[in-house]
Amino acid sequence: MKGKRFVVMALVLLIMVGLGAQGQKDPGVAKEVELRWASIWVGNDSKAPAVEELVAAYNAKNEGRIKVVIEPQPDYNAYEQKVRTSLAAGQVPADIFTIKLNPTTATFYQSNLLMDFNKVMDGAWKATFDAPSLAQSEIDGVLRSLPMETAILPLWFNMDLLKKVGVNEVPKTLDDMFATFDKLKAAGIAPTSQMTGDTNAWTSMIWFSHFAVALGGPNVWDKPFTDKAFVEAAKLIKRMITEYSTSDAVGLGAGGSGGHFLAGRTAVFSNGPWYAGRADLAATPFYDSIRIAGLPDAGPTKDFMISRLQANICAAATKDKAREEAIVDFLKFLTSKDSITKIAETSGAMFAIKTDFRPTVDLKRQFFIVAEGAKATASDLEAALGAEVTLEFAQQLGALALGRISAEEFCALVDRKIER
């Protein structure tokens, strides 16, 4: 009995000593701050290798002080759900995470869980960002996300296919474009990769955005959707789907639309610069023959480009000064000229941070040339009007293409979903 009592007392003593030691703070050694980054730039993403290297380098430099841990988010839809549900449940999905800023996600700005960067940014850091992108990210004087990745959404021309029908240059006018498309059709080639599936009818949404801006100007999204510019754009996109696309365009998803272009079944495509970093695209025989361009002249607005904020960085608001400083320190590192250049070099992606970087790969370089050559930029439909309007656009686009509704009815249906 005495022996047992002794063992118990010894254990209690050991635990107390252990706890005591844990509770003691060595004034000379600050506790390491661990930051969780729910990163979408992982797996097959073209930015993943550079981001991983940068984080490793940052962690090595700040060993014992700050450690950034990447939480991989390879499925973007699941990731978006995670962000939404976490914030709705009163939690931040991670210390650092990204969002696509649009009128729907702008709701996140109402959450005090997100850091207001206006309170922590100094002038020097602010100056590294592209001013219009930074201004676009500020809502009612609050900057709850930093613009990181940007994108232009141009048209992609497979010149090998165009040359097959005797066209050696990207069409300059809408009439030229339709004439080219007719030649392609006659040669048994589907001119474009349209689609009405998914929640945003992605590639057709880009085409529609081009048409709408060409006809209604860069501020066309401020107009009612029943405006003549949208009605005419709707007629044009219907023509593109019914006359100049693959037979499965209605109901087709982005994978199928891109798949047609990758397989050389369609001659003209639309997507952002991230698509240029794909290994399967680089493996195609026509990779070097792809030309990037804006929409041929289709209305009063010419030489413009559709662009968007592709990924904005958010951070968790915290009262812990050390943690806040750690977040700011890492984000300053991540958005530095050197870091952005490194990510851009491997991915070809475009960023809202000013650098002198220009890609060496021709296809990736064309995006920069086209962006710099544009006299005006305008948002795409999704970036300008949000998720719900885009969903209605995608759903009704099928009905428009099938002739179930007129262009006017299509526009009226989409207009109903716009909150004013």
């Binding site: 709705a88 998914d198 037979s247 109901g251 998803g253 759903q395 099928g398």
Partner: protein, 297 residues
């Protein structure tokens, strides 16, 4: 008397203790979320910021919404096709297999196989099958000269197409019904045979009445699944084209996607209420007081 009373107390205590863990789980993971959903359905809330009470406004808005009405109609079609096409098909196959024809074990496995394959994989296979240039159109064109059809892109046939690819996978209900049919004593059939009853009469007068309880259970399960259907349709069509295949589950998801949490909650509440109505209807239709207590025989 004292001993009897003490025993009763102990039995009640044991019942409470046994029920407590699952009751607590049920409360925290169903009752509480349901009450929260019910409350948020009466508010204006975008998931972030304060909730603003607005009474039954969301319900009125939803009922006036053509998309929601279409989703509601599609849900009913789904539930009916699951309950009145899939289950009878499963029952028919079970009634054939219970007579142990040649290769019945291989057929049983074959019918059940799709149930162990992921919904995502099956949906992708069917997207390929239904493609304009896919095998279904090729076969139909070769056999009957039918014009190629965009099965998932044509609002007239898209709902039929997505329901068909689910309804034909009868394995799950077939296994339940087969297990129940195998438990029917052979002597009933032998007696019927002596009385001169043919196969059809035996099935009609012995198998079906003996399977009644299991049929009610499988129909309840099938229709409940039909009511909450989401995955394969969302993967194949996203609810399109023009909302032709949208179900209430998809509508709810898309409303959350657009940060319309209170409206999504309203859809959720209506979905739960409709599920309750469906179970009650089956109970009334089959004249059984408690279909859920009728276990597989």
């Amino acid at each position: 008397m004292h001993i009897v009373g003490s025993n009763k107390k102990r039995i009640w205590l044991a019942r409470i203790l046994f029920l407590l863990p699952v009751s607590l789980l049920f409360f925290f993971f169903f009752i509480y979320p349901f009450l929260f959903t019910l409350y948020t359905s009466l508010t204006q809330w975008r998931g972030i910021g304060a909730m603003k009470f607005n009474g039954l406004a969301n319900y009125g808005k939803l009922l006036a919404d053509a998309t929601f009405r279409k989703a509601l109609k599609n849900n009913v079609v789904w539930a009916l096709s699951q309950g009145f096409i899939q289950v009878p098909l499963a029952c028919l196959v079970a009634m054939i297999l219970v007579r142990k024809p040649r290769f019945w074990k291989a057929l049983r496995t074959a019918y059940y196989l799709p149930n162990v394959i992921s919904t995502v994989a099956l949906a992708m296979v069917w997207v390929a099958i239904y493609n304009v240039k896919g095998p279904l159109n090729a076969i139909l064109h070769a056999l009957f000269g039918v014009e190629k059809l965009n099965w998932l892109g044509n609002p007239d046939v898209a709902l039929f197409a997505v329901i068909f690819q689910t309804v034909i996978y009868i394995g799950y209900f077939m296994i339940i019904l087969l297990a129940a049919a195998m438990n029917i004593p052979r002597s009933y059939y032998e007696a019927a045979e002596i009385d001169g009853a043919g196969t059809f009469r035996q099935e009609w007068h012995i198998t079906l009445p003996m399977l009644r309880g299991t049929l009610v259970t499988t129909m309840t399960l099938a229709m409940a699944y039909g009511m909450r259907h989401f995955e394969s349709t969302f993967l194949m069509t996203g609810g399109g084209p023009a909302y032709a295949t949208t179900t209430m589950g998809i509508d709810l998801y898309l409303k959350m996607d657009a940060l319309r949490y209170s409206e999504a909650s309203t859809v959720g509440v209506i979905l739960i209420l409709m599920g309750t109505v469906v179970i009650s209807l089956i109970r009334i239709l089959f004249g059984t007081s408690d279909p859920m207590s009728e276990t597989a025989q």
